[in-house]
Amino acid sequence: MTAAPRPAAAGTVTTGSPAATDLAAAARLVADLPASPAAWCSGLRKRYGKRTAVDDVSFAVARGEVVGLLGPNGAGKTSVIKMLLGLVRPDAGEVLLLGRPSADPLSRARVGYLPELFRYQPWLTASEVLRLHVRLAGLDVPDAEQRARLGDVGLGGRAGDRVGGFSKGMQQRLGMAVALVARPELVVLDEPTSALDPLGRADVRDLLLDLRARGVAVLLNSHLIGEVERVCDRVVVLDRGKVAAQGTLAELLGRREVRMRLTGVSDAAHRRLEAAGTLVRAGDLFTVGLAADDVLAGPAPAGDGGDPSAEAAATTDRAAGAAADAVADLVTDLVALGVRVHAVEPGHISLEQRLLDILRTAHPEDPR
């Protein structure tokens, strides 16, 4: 895969010359720079003994963007997350968090993290755990605000209880509050709903939507594809340590299909069907896969300012509209060509289907 262009680091302003004109020019230059991504990594590699866990992984999470990290077990998702946060040293590659290199601890000042393995000091109370993290983050967050975070995750009534008495689900909820307490600009969540009941999962989804609405960037690793599909603007698919695919949901799910039962299909009609997209025929049943290029008026790359989530939603809407038009045109043309149309059934490819497609295409030998 190609390396992403290196974003400008924040706080590295060129002010070497005292000349006012130079300063003004530099200020203009900085003002014109796009905001540095919330997280950016390039060429990440990690080997554990002989096994390559992560191999040349590059991607970015734009400010305010919700990115899903998907992939089978052992694909290297948690390793990538730990390298982003400086918990694991990459063998090669670069990481920037909120514009600072990850070697600088200050890069994590506005980053919240809920680890896959979530455990908090059992001898502390829930509110003491939050106070500890606020102190380590070097921030001054009022008590009321800290209590509000506990309330957000449904632990408002347990603030004074020792963590040692919490269930796994409650500890994961506490972990969510810890990730959110220090006013983060980027939140990294590694399987945030693994220990939660359906109600808890719904709560986390609401929290994620709330974060997106407030412009907080989120990197979400989750096995629950439905969850990812519902809240993420963009998805990065990892497989065997490599990026197998990445793009906005519209880009990944752009391929829509239409199933039709047709009789009296002439050669000209067949050519028209083939022109519409990839054609699969089984007797009277024709399935046309509408190519993403056809249905997208032009995917807007996320992260060039503005609200990426709104852009992604708009792109999805555009794609759906274009697909509907393409199907209507196709049916009109087929009727004009003398084809009898018995049934038309537009289909939508789910993220789960697409993910399985990507993974199976990459490893056709594996019966996954």
């Binding site: 302003v13 070497g16 390039s42 918990l87 380590l136 983050a137 972990g175």
Partner: protein, 308 residues
Amino acid sequence: MSAPTSTTAPAAADAAADARRARVVPTILTVARLTLQEASRRKVLRALVVLTVVLVGLSAWGFSRLTAEDPTMAELTSGQARLVASQLLNLVMFGLSLIAALGTAFLAGPTLAGEVESGQALALLARPVRRWAVLVGKWLGLVAFGSGYIAVAGLAQLLVVQLTVGYWPPDPVGALALLAAQTTVLLTLGLLLSTVISPMASGIVAVGLFGATWVAGVVGGLGAAFGNSGVAAVGTWSRMLLPTDGLWRGAMHGFSDPSALASSFGAEMAGFPFLGFEGLSLAYLGWVALWVAVVLGLASMAFGRRDL
């Protein structure tokens, strides 16, 4: 991938360096406080309190029976009595230092390795903190805890001896400080071990090494008493490699009555493991400080390079 080409103005760099320095100290203090909180809230403190109360209580009872009932004690000259009191005090203090060593070694081990194993360290170290600052904070908290324990329990024991047999050691503050230093040495070793091996193993190895150097010290003392320089060297080397025994001997010297040691009775007792005949040199104390700094530095390096 092209490297960044931006330059940073010197003033901005200074400000950034100040900010980083400023962040290190609060991190150390926050983690030290957390460690003290852990020590005070976990069951280890209750175990320490119970063990200490039992030991001090038993010694109080023993000392009081000794003067009340043992006719030989009454017949001893005051010098001999002081020597016996010194020995008994050292024996009980050895028990105390053993409790302190076991307690802190089993606190120091799990505090790091256990947090990494359980995942507690993940959320903590993903904060804007330097790993070495977290480690130094833990160390500082453990040192404060161990020293506090030695001060309180040691003082209680000295008072018991004073009240029962009327003996007050020549240098109680210096001796207790050396016991605290002994605890510090052992917990620093425990921290280093816990960065490379499992929590329980690090506690066991630290306590095992502590016992081994004590035995080596006794063997060396006997060698010196019998004029065997080869055997005496065993004690000298073990005291350099792990200074716990050297510090213990220094502490015993502070607890032992000097006039009694100088008497003919004291000379007969040369090589006896519960009498301190020599104080510690400044050079040795310097070596101990260097030893602690190097081991703590190694622990910081090992912890900093570790994948979590």
